[in-house]
Structures are given as C-alpha cells and as structure tokens.
C-alpha cells in the first residue's frame, strides 16, 4: 500500500507517525517540539524527530527513511530536490547568522559588514595568530556553507586563501555548540546561527560583533520526501505537516517562540517576508496539495 | 578386551612410544610400570581417547577406537580415568564427584546415594560441601578416584592413583579396586611406580621401557625372571653382574664374570653368549666367614661395606670384589653380630642366579 506505515506494521492500533529529520541546530532551539504538540493533537498523529548533522539528515532523506526534512542549507536542498528525493519545499522561517567574538574584539571588527569583518579577521589573524583567531565549523553544515559564502563574498578562494593559511584559522569539524565552546576557550571569532548562540549566551563569554548584513540571512525550510522515488513514506501526513507549518497560526507561534526565554525572538516568520528572503511567494504561502 | 597394536607416539622430535603391543583381557588388572617419562601416562591417555597414536591402533571390544569417531562418546562412557594430576573443578567435593553422573542423567537422588557411599569408602565422609580446590594432595586423589568409580565404568584407567597416599590409605584403595574387580569383573589398567603395588594388585604387569613393553607377564615372572638387565634393574634386582658363558657342565653354565669370579647358573643359553646374571638380594644367604662351606654352588668371601635399614629387613652391601647387596632379617643380623667391616661369606644356588642374554645397549 502507498502509505504502509512501519509503525502501523508493528502495532496497528497506534496512531500514525511522522518521521522528521532535522539539523541539530534547529532541533536544539526547541522550536520543533513547540510546534509538534498542537499538530499531534489536531491530526491524531505522532511526530518523531531525528536530529542530526545536515548531511546525515539529508542522508536519511535520500534513502527514504524519513518522511519530512527540515534543514537550512539552500544549496544542498536544491541538489536534494533536483535529484528527485525531495518535493514540496516550503520556507517557514528565517533569521540571521551572527559573527561572535571576544568581548575585547581584538581584531576590531565590531559593526563592520560581514565581508569586511572576515577580511579583517583574516588579516589580523595572519599577522598575530596568538591574538586573533577564527574557529570554523568545518563540517559542511549549513552554517559552514554560509561561512564559505561569506569568504567568497569577501573575495577569497576558500580552499587556497583560508584553509591551511595559518594557525589563526581553526577548522573544528564539530557541532555548533562545540564550536562556540571552542571559540570561547580560544578567545576566537566564529560564525553561529542565532538560535544556538542565544542558547549558549550565558555559558560563554563571546558577544555578537557583527549581526547585520544580507549575507547573514538564514532560511529554514521544510520539504517532504518524494513518494514516487521512495514508496512507503508517510506522504499524506507529511503534506499535513507542511501545510500546518505555513498556516498563519503556526507562523505566529514561530514569531513568538523564544521571546519568553531569550527576550528576543529566535525566528522571523516566513509569511509575508518572501522578498527579504529572496524566494518565490508560492514557496512561502502555497499550500501543498 | 583392549588390544594395543603397534602403537607409536612422538611429541615433536621426541619419540615416546615406538611399538607398544599388549592385549588386556576383560576382567584383568593390568599394571604398567616403567621409568619416569617412559610414556605410561601417554599410553593410558591414548586408551582414554585423549591422545591419538601416531601409528598402530587400539582396539576395544573389536572397535578401533581412534578410527570409529562416531562411537567415541559411547567408548569413553564405558571407561573412566583417574589422572596422575587430578584436576579439581572449582566446586564442592560433591559436585566434583557428581559430574560424570550428571552427564549420564542419573537422577539426583541416586547421585546422592552414590556419592555418600563413595565418600564413605574413600574415607572422606562429611567432605561433601568442601571446596575441592582446598583438599590436600591425598584427599584430592581419592576424590578423583571416587569421581571415576561412581560412573561404574567397564574399564577403569588409573594413572598412579595412590602416588600421594600413605600406606594405610593406599591399602584401602587397593582393597576397593580388588573388590570391584572381583565383584563386577571390571577391567583395570593401572600405571604405578610402586613395585609392591604392582605385585599386590596386578594379574599381569607390563614393563614399559624405551618405547616398548620390554616384558609383559605375571608379577612373579616380571620380578623373578626379568627379560633383560634393564628390566631387572628397574624391578629392583640390585645385583647384576656381566659376564660370558664359558662352558656348560651337567646342565649348569659356568659364567666368567667381568670381575674375574665365576658364577654357576642354570640357563638354556649356549657357551660364548654374553650375559648378565641377576641375583636378588633376598636369594643370597649370608654366613660368617668361618662358617663351613655350604652345598650352594656359588660362594664368595667378602667384607660388609654398608648396613642400612630396609623396612622389615636389613640391607647389607658386601664387598666381594664387586659390591653385592644382600637382604637379611634384623634378627639374623643381630644373631650373627654383624657390623660394618665384618668378614662374611655369601652364597646362592645356581638356580637363584637368573641369566639373561645381553643384547647391546
């Protein structure tokens, strides 16, 4: 059957289950947990969230092992969709990456634009790696992709000018949290998504040094796995989930999420902001049918 | 019947058994004696299927036991072995003895009766709950015997089963073995280094030496008529004199010894043959030097060189050119007033000198 739900196979009396793969940084904000409760109630379903690195999450999707995918790496999403694994992408929210660094700001990049700041950090880092350092996620995550984009935007060739260019540039190869901790330990700069940074703010001494600039835009989207390529995925519930996310009430929940905890919102709702994000309106508001 | 046919065995470079042959009858008690390292344990282990012969075969009741792999278990279960180094399972004495029975699915109640009886017989009643690992050497040896016996084996293999036991405990065990052999017709193959034990228990003895059974025979045959000087020496015949048969007169051979003296002895061997003459110390009569000559064919004069206790007897070494050991009772030693240095005459009958051909080596 088209929707041969594996949960149903195991236990037919159980409610339907949606398997959702997401990146750690999104999951760790707690947004998805906040969103899934009303959905589960409304649709008499269960949402099981698997959080992993962007690559792993997409990997699960490529194999048709999950029903829905939520990541924030447009380039790889495009490839994913192009390869026929994903369909019906909808953008649900956005926010901005921040460049964080030591309070003392040894490179003096505060309030520069992102590209300038990166250029300066590199320059000062090359000159005095003991004072100025940059920690990179180095793991090909969405955040890392963004970092590379900024280096490119600043006119550097990432592989030749940045990596292996000196002790100032530290390629960590770990999650966002660990990278923040490392940057903190080393009094270094790094690029972080705002959600993770806010979650870590109290535990580390890093402060945002650059938080504005178009290039820092971070777009979160959802898509379902293509049932034609992967028969057996829970397609109808996946549609329900996407549609649920773009409804105005859900968008409102997204807008308000985190205010209580952090004193500021973690996400901006996608609804009405397709321009800011540079995507089609249908990708924001068009219901999946 | 256990037929051992041309069995050989080497460990690495070292050949332990060359060509071992013997047929052990049902109901027989067969003792293997031989020097340390001669392969007694190896042979028993091969009968028990723990070791595979390199050559030859062992046939038990018509079955070549190392060839018929399908019947291995059945054959093993009709035998039981008491090892030279008895192994204790890390369990109670009770559980140690019960192992074989449990393998045969004997009901626990029956096991219990058997074990209580067995402990009684070996003199270890009340030891049921003791950790077997803490037993004394002799206690463990007896437990190992009980472990083998309770399985009622048709063939009992015992590798020096009383090595760690005092004479009183040994006697108990020997009585037990004799009894079950008589009552149940159990075949017993025992290796022992205790010559007296061989004599006491065995119907026949095999002397394992240099990779072969140098001699197989009744205890009397082996101890009184050893086949060669090596067997003779091993079974405790201390006086072995080399020589050559010079001539025969009236059916009695005159043997010129390498030490100049001449010994008369009864032997079918012909003149010219090189021989060893074995004279058991207890076959020699000892007199004070002044005693009138006796009828015994052989008589030598000498001096008492050493006197030592030898259990119920006294052992004298008399220097007659060659040292000759003589066993006499304490009583006679006392009566004769012997002491080291006393001049004496020794004599023995021509029939008391056992002559064996010297075959090299």
């Amino acid at each position: 059957t088209g929707t041969s739900d594996r949960e149903a196979n195991l236990n037919p009396s159980e409610t339907r289950t949606l398997l959702l793969a997401t990146t750690t940084s999104l999951y760790d904000t707690g947004l998805l947990d906040a969103l899934k409760a009303p959905f589960e109630k409304e649709y008499n379903a269960k949402v099981d969230i698997i959080s992993a690195g962007t690559g792993t999450a997409l990997g699960y999707g490529e194999n048709g092992d999950v029903d829905v995918m939520m990541v924030h790496d447009r380039a790889r999403e495009d490839a994913f969709i192009e390869n026929g694994h994903g369909i019906d992408r909808r953008v649900i929210a956005y926010n901005y990456f921040v460049i964080v660094g030591p309070e003392a700001d040894p490179a003096g990049v505060k309030n520069m634009n992102p590209e300038e700041a990166f250029t300066t950090i590199r320059e000062k880092g090359l000159a005095d790696p003991a004072q100025v350092k940059f920690v990179s996620r180095g793991d090909n995550s969405g955040t890392h992709a963004k970092e590379k984009a900024i280096w490119n935007g600043a006119g550097f060739n990432y592989t030749t000018d940045i990596t292996k260019s000196g002790d100032w540039y530290i390629e960590a190869g770990t999650g966002m949290g660990a990278t923040l901790v490392m940057a903190d330990e080393k009094a270094a700069y790094t690029l972080s998504d705002i959600g993770t940074y806010l979650a870590y703010k109290d535990k580390i001494a890093l402060v945002p040094v650059v938080s504005e600039g178009e290039i820092l835009l971070n777009v979160y989207s959802v898509m379902r796995i293509n049932p034609e390529k992967h028969p057996g995925v829970n397609s109808s519930l996946a549609k329900d989930w996407i549609n649920y996310l773009i409804t105005p009430s859900t968008q409102k929940t997204i807008e308000e999420f985190g205010v209580e905890t952090y004193g500021e919102p973690l996400f901006f709702p996608a609804a009405g902001n397709w321009d800011t994000m540079g995507v089609n309106r249908s990708e924001v508001e068009g219901p999946v049918v | 019947m256990i037929e051992i046919e041309h069995v050989s065995k080497s460990f690495g470079e070292k050949t332990v058994l060359k060509d071992v042959n013997a047929a052990i009858q049902d109901g027989e008690i067969f003792a293997i004696i031989g020097p340390s390292g001669s392969g007694k344990s190896t042979l028993l282990r091969m009968i028990n299927l723990l070791e595979v012969p390199d050559g030859g075969r062992i046939v038990v009741d018509g079955t070549d036991i190392h060839a018929e792999r399908r019947r291995t278990l059945e054959i093993r279960r009709m035998m039981a072995m008491v090892f030279q180094k008895p192994a204790a399972f890390n369990e109670s004495v009770y559980d140690n003895i019960a192992v074989g029975l449990r393998m045969r699915h004997v009901p626990e109640r029956e096991i219990q009766t058997k074990i209580v009886d067995a402990l009684e017989v070996i003199g270890l009643s009340g030891y049921e709950k003791r950790r077997a690992k803490t037993l004394s050497g002799g206690e463990m040896q007896r437990v190992a015997l009980a472990r083998a016996l309770v399985t009622d084996p048709a063939v009992l293999l015992m590798d020096e089963p009383t090595a760690n036991l005092d004479p009183v405990a040994t006697a108990t065990i020997e009585d037990l073995v004799l009894r079950i052999n008589r009552e149940f017709g159990q075949t017993v193959v025992i290796s022992t280094h205790d010559m007296l034990q061989g004599q006491r228990l065995a119907h026949r003895i095999g002397v394992l030496m240099d990779g072969v059974f140098s001699q197989v025979g009744t205890p009397r045959e082996v101890f009184a008529l050893p086949k060669n000087k090596h067997v003779a020496r091993f079974v405790g015949i201390e006086n072995i004199v080399s020589g050559r048969i010079a001539r025969m007169s009236e059916g009695v051979a005159e043997i010129e010894t390498d030490f100049g003296t001449t010994i008369s002895a009864v032997t079918p061997l012909s003149p010219g043959t090189r021989v060893s003459v074995c004279i058991k110390p207890e076959e020699i009569t000892l007199h004070l030097a002044e005693y009138p000559h006796t009828s015994a064919r052989n008589a030598l004069g000498g001096k008492v060189a050493r006197m030592t206790a030898f259990g119920p007897l006294m052992r004298l070494v008399v220097d007659c050119g060659i040292p000759i050991s003589v066993l006499i009772t304490w009583k006679s030693a006392e009566e004769m007033g012997l002491s080291e240095g006393s001049r004496v005459r020794i004599s023995f009958k021509a029939s008391a000198a056992h002559v064996v051909e010297d075959t090299g080596a």
Partner: protein, 228 residues
C-alpha cells in the same frame, strides 16, 4: 567543579524523583543493552568454545581478526547496520530503522567480537587437566560446553560485564540507527550527547551518573549470580 556537584545533585534528584522521562530512557537503555548482551553472550559461548577447542588452519589469523574487531568504531557499526536496514537496503522491508530492535542488532554486532574474544581468553585460563577430565568423564559436545563454561565462569562473567559496558556506553550506533527519537529510541547515551551538544553539562553528568548507577545494579546482580 561546580558542574560536577550540580550534576551529582541533579542525578540524585532525577533518581529519587523517578523523573518519568529519565525513567523511560533508562529503561530503554537497559532493555536494549541487556538484550544485546544476552544475545551476544548466547552466540559468543558456542563460537568461542568452538574456536578455542577446534584446531583448523587459520585459527590464529581468525583470533587476530576477532581481536582487531575490538576496535570497531561504533559509528562504523551504525553505518553498516544502517545500510542493511535502510528502506532500500537488503533488510529494508522489515522497517527496522529507528527502532529499539535495530539498536539491539547494532549493539550485538558491536560487542560480539569482544565477547567471543574474551570467551576464548577465559577458556584459555582453564587448565588443560580440567578439559581432559571433562572429556574423559564422557561429556557430549553440549555438556563439554556447559562444563567448561561453568569452570571458566568468573572470567566469562568478566567478559559479559565488558560486553554490557561497551553496549550501554556506546552512542555512535544508537544515534545513527535509533535516531535519538524522544520517547522511542532515546537512550541514556544519546540523551547525554544531546544534552552535551546543548551544553547542559549538569544534566549530561546527571544522566551519566544514572547510567553508571544502573550499570552498578546490573554488575552487582551479575556478581551475586556468579557467586551462587
């Protein structure tokens, strides 16, 4: 040090309050790892005995390979099992991915080499005379196995404890195969990872202490059992 004290306090609190979430993942941890240990033990005893007491060409090489698999990284096991049970994998039809059953499978594979290897090692510690005695007493193959294992029981229990320890403390396979899904496949180690990635160090330490506490209970159980 503050974190450690926090962790201890929180662990204490979590344990005495029987926090339902913690209870749930603890129970799942126990079920998964204990089952994997039992399955691996059941396989390791006959395998180990067979390898130890059979002579065959390549035996040394085999033992060497088994020992090499002690170094199997948990992530690699996770990946291999993933490839096996992913929807398009050979066992995809069974829908095992993201289930505790799959985690049991992965942990079993993970600890099997060490359990076989330590079983062999344990059996090597049994004196040859004991082996001969068992055979001589007329043991069937199965009786030989049980007797020799019984005699080596202390070392074998040590192997079981090692296997269990490795199973319950591993995270790579559990997270890849189980997906760390709340209320479904989240176990103590994946929860610790999650909390660590969120830098909830106190909670991580608390969960670690809970993990050690249940390991203590299991080991005490095993110790008491073996001393029977």
């Amino acid at each position: 040090m503050g974190y450690i004290i926090d962790g201890l306090m929180e662990a204490f609190h979590l344990i005495v309050s029987l926090d339902p979430d913690v209870m749930e993942i603890t129970v799942l941890s126990l079920i998964v790892s204990l089952t994997a240990t039992v399955v691996a033990t059941t396989l390791a005893l006959p395998f180990g005995t067979a390898i130890k007491f059979t002579e065959f060409p390549g035996k040394k090489v085999l033992i060497n390979l088994i020992q090499t698999l002690y170094s199997l990284p948990t992530v690699l096991v996770g990946l291999l099992v993933f490839l096996l049970i992913t929807r398009h994998g050979p066992l995809g039809f069974a829908g095992l991915l993201f289930t505790p059953q799959a985690m049991i499978l992965a942990q079993t594979i993970l600890i099997l080499p060490i359990m076989v290897g330590l079983t062999i090692s344990a059996l090597s510690g049994v004196d040859e005379t004991i082996r001969d005695t068992i055979i001589s007493l007329g043991a069937t193959r199965l009786q030989f196995l049980t007797s020799i294992v019984r005699e080596a029981r202390f070392a074998i229990f040590a192997a079981v404890v090692v296997g269990f320890g490795r199973a319950i403390s591993e995270v790579g396979a559990a997270i890849l195969i189980g997906g760390n899904i709340a209320h479904r496949t989240r176990v103590l180690t994946t929860a610790i990872s999650l909390n660590t990635s969120q830098w909830e160090i106190g909670t991580s330490i608390a969960l670690g202490i809970v993990l050690l506490a249940i390991a203590l209970v299991v080991n005490t159980g095993v110790t008491l059992f073996q001393q029977r």
